[in-house]
Symmetry: C2
Subunit: 85 residues, 2 copies
């Protein structure tokens, strides 16, 4: 029930999901460079369509919280590395 969506809420599903993922990361459930569940697993656990899950992911990616790699998965952004040099 980790990422459950309230379909009767007026808050859009993708925002709800983004919030839950944000919380999970903030709670230390996923560390830097840890892999998040796949889109498919999110669709299964939430009942949302892939496009909707992806929208949540892209939102967090825009925030710089996570990053995605085609063919590999979605990962938590690590703390800023010391700038080159």
């Amino acid at each position: 029930m980790e990422f459950e969506i309230d379909f009767r809420s007026k808050t859009p599903s993708y925002q709800q999901l983004a919030g839950k993922i944000r919380q999970a990361i903030a709670a230390g459930q996923y560390a830097a460079d840890d892999k998040l569940p796949s889109l498919k697993r999110f669709t299964q656990e939430t009942g949302l369509a892939q496009g909707t899950v992806q929208k949540a992911i892209k939102l967090l990616e825009a925030e710089g919280l996570i990053y995605t790699v085609n063919g590999r998965g979605t990962f938590v952004t690590g703390p800023p590395r010391s700038l080159s040099a």
Copy 2:
């Protein structure tokens, strides 16, 4: 033919469209706070689905180049106002 899409290109349609719009703005075809064509008009002129057009729009919005208002339309972002004070 203003915003024509090359469907044989390897560049995704939404990126192509975003590029064309970016150019049109850079070319001074739309001034600050000018209204861009509606999603519907873009779908008609390009042959793309609404979701794809919207993806292009959201990309430019993320860049800060344009902004959208539900029920009104999409507009060109003006030059930065002097910071409050």
